[in-house]
Structures are given as structure tokens and as C-alpha cells.
């Protein structure tokens, strides 16, 4: 148990921090590697658990406030876990011109979540991204499941809904 400055006892860490040991040992003496360490931590957990940030702070002797400054500056870092399927909906210029907003609206309606949110059953997280670089297939989305990802396009609101339905079906889940 660690004591926080206000005197109350904080919860016992839930995150398995031993997974970070070798990473922190490797980068301990390398100044300027904060972003790399954060990226690798996120690779391990899928997001940046609070405990991991304290652990990184201790190991690299960088203040937590500074780490949070970096974490919140870059779009890549997440402070919350994501669903099993991460939907990255491209909002690049070519996709916008070809109607990505309608696709976004259809997905929001189908999943009942908004940009950055996760469904209650933890199956889907939706995220608007700047550009996936598949401009000639616009509008596109990438769905990442574990380590593999697949790009879908060109999308219509209807085809986007169908893709979600198919995944629900494959998961054997009931769509809310």
C-alpha cells in the first residue's frame, strides 16, 4: 500500500507492473526516450494505466505532471482501455469530400457511441483519425482487432452498418 499526500490510502495497484521491468531497465539511462517508453507501455497494455505512469515516473525520474503533459499532447496515447475492435474512421480531406461524416453518423447510430467512446459490452471503440493514407478508397475505416487490422472502403452509411452487424454476428453477441 502506498500513501498519497492527502493521507488517505490509495488502492492497491491492479496493473501487473512486472511486465514493464525489462522495458524500464532498458531505457532508464537514456534521456529523451519518454515517448518511446510510453509507446512501448501502450503496446503492452493497450492503453496507459495510471499505475504504469507512476512506475515510469520513478524509473525515468521524470515528474508525473510532465509525463501527463506529453501523454495528453499526442493523439496516439490513451488513458482508457479500448474495446476488442477498434474502429478508426478516417476523417482526412479525401474522405470528408466523399462523405465520411454520413458514415460517422451511421456508425454512431449503429453502435450508440460517439467518437472516443467504447460500447458497454467492450466490443467496439470508435475513434476518428486524421488520415489513413488510403485516399483513393475514400471514405475508409480501419478496424483493428488485436494485432491484425483490416481496411474497409469505399464505405456508404449502409455498408458501414453491415460491417458492424457482421462482426456482431461473428462474435455471437446480441446487438443492443
Amino acid at each position: 500500500m502506498t500513501k498519497c499526500s492527502c493521507g488517505s490510502k490509495t488502492e492497491k495497484p491492479k496493473t501487473d507492473l512486472t511486465k514493464l521491468d525489462s522495458l524500464l531497465a532498458e531505457y532508464k539511462c537514456l534521456p529523451g526516450s519518454l515517448i518511446t517508453v510510453l509507446q512501448k507501455t501502450q503496446d503492452i497494455y493497450g492503453y496507459l494505466p495510471k499505475d504504469s505512469i507512476y512506475a515510469i515516473s520513478d524509473a525515468l525520474t521524470v515528474k508525473v505532471a510532465k509525463i501527463m503533459g506529453v501523454v495528453t499532447f499526442y493523439a496516439q496515447f490513451r488513458l482508457h482501455p479500448v474495446g476488442k475492435h477498434l474502429i478508426m474512421l478516417c476523417q482526412g480531406t479525401a474522405c470528408h469530400v466523399n462523405g465520411s461524416e454520413n458514415v460517422a453518423a451511421a456508425l454512431e447510430d449503429e453502435l450508440k457511441i460517439k467518437d472516443g467512446e467504447t460500447t458497454a459490452d467492450n466490443l467496439f471503440t470508435m475513434e476518428n483519425v486524421a488520415c489513413l493514407g488510403c485516399c483513393s478508397m475514400a471514405p475508409v475505416m480501419m478496424i483493428r482487432t488485436g494485432k491484425s487490422s483490416e481496411v474497409f472502403g469505399p464505405l456508404t452509411p449502409k455498408s458501414a452498418r453491415q460491417i458492424i452487424k457482421n462482426i456482431y454476428k461473428a462474435e455471437g453477441g446480441v446487438q443492443s
Binding site: 518511446t36 499526442y74 480531406t93 486524421a130 488520415c131 488510403c134 485516399c135 475508409v140
Partner: protein
């Protein structure tokens, strides 16, 4: 026989991996005497997945378009078994202008060589330029050759490359850094990604030559984390180069040593600005700082550093192989050589094109890109992404060179070229870009941080039908103030999309504000849906599709839409076969 499959990110997205696997299985199953290899992107995104059959005995090339697993089987059967090229799958005659009208320097070997095999790069004159520099030229002579070529930075600003190299060379210091900016942030541009995925060695060779010229022994490549395939191929390229003596200590037995490290960016548009990029490389928030001192004097870890864009480096080996004069022979008086553009939007044939500087925008869109999708009317083209501007139809004869593009209110930028047709609303486009820059402003300068937000709020009001008199003037004055009050390129160029659309499409802004109409019929709050009683056949298709039951009427009589209930979803218009739904 050699078969190649285009395996860039976009090719893979279109299914190239499945095509590749299908061909692999067929070759194994039938024990065919064929060499199958993955190559990078040839640039014909609209024809992905692209498969090429090369008859190396007769030196004949057959380019096939849109080949999925099933088509691959038919193709192999016809072309390999019976020896007859399968006409119906070949890239159609009208698409051949796409490649024929280009001049490929940076992209020369993209889509031709296997990016994960250094032997192929060497076979295509790879590292000849590096050898020439190390054995025949002094660093000063290398810089002189780049000066003769007239090469300017391809990342956007167009700063002469030789000048930067020379400044870094003159700078005092025992440790210097050569940095590659591969943080391609413009949403709608993918030149750098494609180059790194298709021919990473050319970029690395360019960096090595630059490092030799400025006297650097260490290099960093700052790549967007969103480009995993580019990072993978770069890693492989660096490893192969080290194994073959092109990287490391005493390269090719000379005194020149160089090592390279890849740093993955973490997603911030502002990191394309060189001082912000350096801050990010050092593990900090990517915020720009005041220049001078320029990175050439004090850059990464306060040491002299040189930063160039991916495409700039990719041009360097060619220049050293063919001489600066050959490069300078192409292009215009002040803009030499070629430029790669990512052609996308409402264009028929989107993809990656490389043309000599000085070609007109019209020629690129119509001559190479084949014109506008669905044969609609072109309205304009956005160049330079969120930092650039919109060039209207009337100025399509503008030549692509740094000065001419700037003169009409846009910028060359990194090479994004988004084509817009009559259904694109210019006010909405301006709002889209402002949303992007507002999100990406690092927050350091007040004008940029708050000014972009205020501009966005005004634009949102306008597209929602709540525009007011004086909005245009306020936008202009805010824009001018942001330009004057911002430290870096992001803020200084953020108002460009708004100012250039006001300059060329002011009547569209006025239509939104004064008449509450969106001429492009894009801004939903400004639209009204009604049914033409003359055309309506009372088929009831629209009524069934209406999600809010806004459509009513007697049976077998023309229907009506209740504007108070209508949510302007457009379903009725989409389903009507008789064109009876009027949208205004």
C-alpha cells in the same frame, strides 16, 4: 517470367495480400517456373490491387488492374499456361496516360523493385551516388552539385536544400545530426508513406549523402506511428544496409561512418515543423520555438542538425548520379525538377503522380487523373492541405511551381491535391480544415490557440444557417491577426483555407449568410426537402424510408413533406426513382 504484386498500404487495403497468397498457392500447386515478388506502390491507387507479369525473355511488361484471388487464377491460367495475355484484365488503354504523362525521379523504382530486398535496389543503380560522393567528391562539391540542381525542400516551404546543408556544414561542432522528417501530417497526402514503403533505400541513401556533406555521423528518421508498414520496411532496409556495409563504421572502407535510428512519432500535426519535431525527438511535447537559432546552429540536443523531408532526400541520389544540370533542366526558372502529388478527392483516377514543375493543374487533373468522377463539374482544388488554399476552376491553368501556387493563395505544401466538384461546399471545406488546425494547435501562441477556435465557431454558425452580417469581415481580420501573431508555420498558415475560399468563393459565403442557402446542397440545416407533385407517382417508396414519418398524403396522390418534422436525412431523395424530391 516474373510476377509482381503491388504491396503498398493502399494495395494491401484493396486486397493485395489475398492476391499475393492466391498466386503463391497456384505457383506451388502447379509447380510453375515463375518468380513472384512483392513490390511497392506504382501509384495507380484506382486500379489496386495491381499485378504485373514480366516476360523477361522478350522484355515485355503486362500490367493488370484490380486483380483479386479469383481473377489471379484466371489470369495465370491464360497468361502462363496458354501464353495469352488476358486482355480483359489488362489496365485499360485510357488509363495508360496516367503513367505515360509522368516524369518519375523520386518515384522511379517505386512499384518496380522489392523494397525488402537490397539486392534489387543495388541492381537499379542503388548506392552508385553514395560511392560517387565518397570516392570522387568532397563534401563541398556535393553541396555545390545540389546547388546546381536547384533542389528545394519538398515538405512545403521550398527552402533551397543546398543552403540548409551548407549552413549545417559551416556550423561548428563535433557532433552533428541528419534528420528525416517523415511526419506526413496533411490529411489527404501520402507521398512520403508511399516512398518509404516502396523504395526506402533511396531515401536512406539521400540521407547518407547529406550526412557526408554536412559532416554528420548520426541520423534520425521521425516517422508517423500511423505508418506501421513504412516503419517495418525502413527497419528492414537499415538492417540490410548495415549487413552490406552501407551503414555503420567506415562505410565502403572510407572514413565516413553513419548510423541511423527510427523514431516513431505519436500523432501531432505540429511536429512537421522542424523545431517541434526536434522537441518531440527529445521526448518532449512537440512545441515549436522561436528561430533563430536555426537547427543548423542548434538543433537536436543543441547540436547542429539538418532536417529535410522524405521526398527531398529521395531526389538526392538521382541528382548525384545524373548531375545537377540534368535535374535543373526540368521544371521552371525557380522551381527545378519534379514534384510528387497525391491526387485524391472527386477525381476519377486518384493516386500518386510525379510531374515536372511547371505542368498546369488542369493537365494533372484532366490529363493524368482523367477528369472528375461521374463527369460532374470541377469547382476547385485544395493544395497544401490545412496550411494551403483553394484554387478555383478559373485558375486551373496555373502552373505547379512554388511561386505561382503561392500567388493564387495556396501553397505547394507537401503535395496533397484534393479535387472538389460542384457538390463540395466551400464554407464546409473551410470549416473542416479549421476544425483540424484548431485541434492540432499546440497552444503556445494565443492567436493560434484561441483565434482558430473563434474562427471555427463563426464557420460553424454559418454552415448551420446562423451566419450574421459582418461574419466575413470578422473572419478576415481574425485570419490576418493569427498569421501575424503566430510563431510557427501551423499558425501562420492556419487561416489560409478560410481566406482563400473567401477570396475565390465569397458569393458562396454570402449565399449561406444572407439567403440561408447552400449552393452545393451540402449543409443540411440550410436545405429544404419537398416533393414535386408533377413528378410524384405516389409509389410511397419515400414514405417507407422516412425515419421520422414526415411524409404524408392520400393514397395514389402526390405526397408531401412536413418541413417541421423533416430531419433532412436525404433518404427520400436517394430512394425516389422519378426525381420528384426537390432539395433546395
Amino acid at each position: 517470367m516474373i510476377i509482381t504484386v503491388g504491396m503498398g498500404s493502399c494495395g494491401i487495403a484493396a486486397g493485395a495480400q489475398k492476391t499475393f497468397d492466391a498466386i503463391t498457392t497456384l505457383i506451388e500447386k502447379e509447380n510453375l517456373d515463375v518468380t513472384l515478388k512483392p513490390v511497392g506502390c506504382i501509384g495507380e491507387c484506382f486500379n489496386e490491387p495491381v499485378v504485373e507479369v514480366i516476360d523477361d525473355e522478350n522484355n515485355k511488361h503486362y500490367l493488370y488492374a484490380k486483380i483479386d484471388g479469383e481473377k489471379a487464377e484466371k489470369l495465370l491460367k491464360s497468361h502462363l499456361h496458354q501464353g495469352v495475355p488476358l486482355e480483359e484484365y489488362l489496365v485499360p488503354q485510357e488509363d495508360r496516360a496516367f503513367l505515360a504523362k509522368q516524369t518519375r525521379i523520386a518515384l522511379t523504382d517505386c512499384g518496380v523493385i522489392n523494397p525488402e530486398d537490397i539486392a534489387e535496389y543495388i541492381e537499379h543503380d542503388g548506392f552508385q551516388a553514395l560511392k560517387h560522393c565518397l570516392f570522387d567528391l568532397t563534401p563541398e562539391e556535393v553541396i555545390e552539385e545540389i546547388k546546381i540542381s536547384g533542389l528545394r525542400g519538398r515538405g512545403g516551404a521550398g527552402f533551397p536544400t543546398w543552403f540548409k546543408w551548407n549552413a549545417a556544414r559551416q556550423s561548428q561542432g563535433d557532433i552533428k545530426y541528419m534528420i528525416c522528417n517523415a511526419d506526413e501530417g496533411d490529411p489527404g497526402a501520402f507521398m512520403d508513406r508511399s516512398l518509404l514503403e516502396s523504395n526506402p533505400h533511396s531515401v536512406l541513401e539521400g540521407m547518407m549523402i547529406g550526412a557526408y556533406a554536412i559532416g554528420a555521423a548520426e541520423g534520425k528518421i521521425y516517422v508517423r506511428a500511423e505508418y506501421p508498414l513504412a516503419i517495418k520496411r525502413l527497419k528492414k532496409a537499415i538492417q540490410e544496409e548495415a549487413e552490406n556495409g552501407y551503414l555503420g563504421q567506415h562505410i565502403l572502407g572510407t572514413d565516413f561512418s553513419f548510423r541511423l535510428e527510427i523514431k516513431a512519432g505519436a500523432g501531432a500535426f505540429v511536429c512537421g515543423e522542424e523545431t517541434a519535431l526536434i522537441a518531440s525527438l527529445e521526448g518532449e511535447r512537440g512545441m515549436p520555438r522561436l528561430k533563430p537559432p536555426f537547427p543548423a546552429e542548434r538543433g537536436y540536443h543543441q547540436k547542429p542538425s539538418n532536417i529535410n523531408n522524405v521526398e527531398t532526400y529521395a531526389n538526392v541520389p538521382w541528382i548525384l548520379r545524373h548531375g545537377g544540370n540534368a535535374f535543373a533542366a526540368m521544371g521552371t526558372e525557380k522551381s527545378k525538377g519534379t514534384k510528387v502529388f497525391a491526387l485524391a478527392g472527386k477525381v476519377k483516377k486518384g493516386g500518386l503522380v510525379e510531374v515536372p514543375m511547371g505542368m498546369t493543374i488542369k493537365e494533372i487533373i484532366f490529363g493524368i487523373g482523367g477528369g472528375i468522377k461521374d463527369d460532374k463539374e470541377i469547382k476547385g482544388v485544395q493544395m497544401g492541405g490545412p496550411s494551403g488554399g483553394c484554387i478555383p476552376k478559373s485558375l486551373l491553368n496555373t502552373a505547379v511551381d512554388y511561386e505561382s501556387i503561392t500567388k493564387v493563395g495556396a501553397i505547394m505544401g507537401s503535395g496533397g491535391m484534393i479535387v472538389m466538384d460542384e457538390t463540395t461546399c466551400m464554407v464546409d471545406m473551410a470549416r473542416f480544415f479549421l476544425q483540424f488546425t484548431k485541434d492540432e494547435s499546440c497552444g503556445k501562441c494565443v492567436h493560434c490557440r484561441i483565434g482558430t477556435k473563434r474562427m471555427l465557431e463563426i464557420l460553424e454558425r454559418i454552415v448551420n444557417g446562423e451566419g450574421k452580417d459582418g461574419d466575413i469581415e470578422t473572419l478576415k481580420s481574425l485570419g490576418e491577426n493569427i498569421i501575424a501573431g503566430s510563431l510557427c508555420g501551423l499558425g501562420q498558415s492556419a487561416p489560409n483555407p478560410v481566406l482563400s475560399t473567401i477570396r475565390h468563393f465569397e458569393e458562396e459565403y454570402r449565399a449561406h449568410i444572407e439567403d440561408h442557402k447552400c449552393p452545393a446542397k451540402k449543409c443540411k440545416p440550410l436545405l429544404t426537402f419537398s416533393i414535386d407533385p408533377e413528378k410524384c407517382t405516389a409509389c410511397m417508396a419515400c414514405k417507407k424510408k422516412c425515419p421520422v414519418d414526415a411524409i404524408s398524403g392520400e393514397k395514389k396522390k402526390p405526397q408531401e413533406i412536413d418541413a417541421n418534422i423533416c430531419i433532412r436525412c436525404g433518404n427520400c431523395e436517394a430512394v425516389c426513382k422519378f426525381g420528384a424530391v426537390i432539395v433546395e
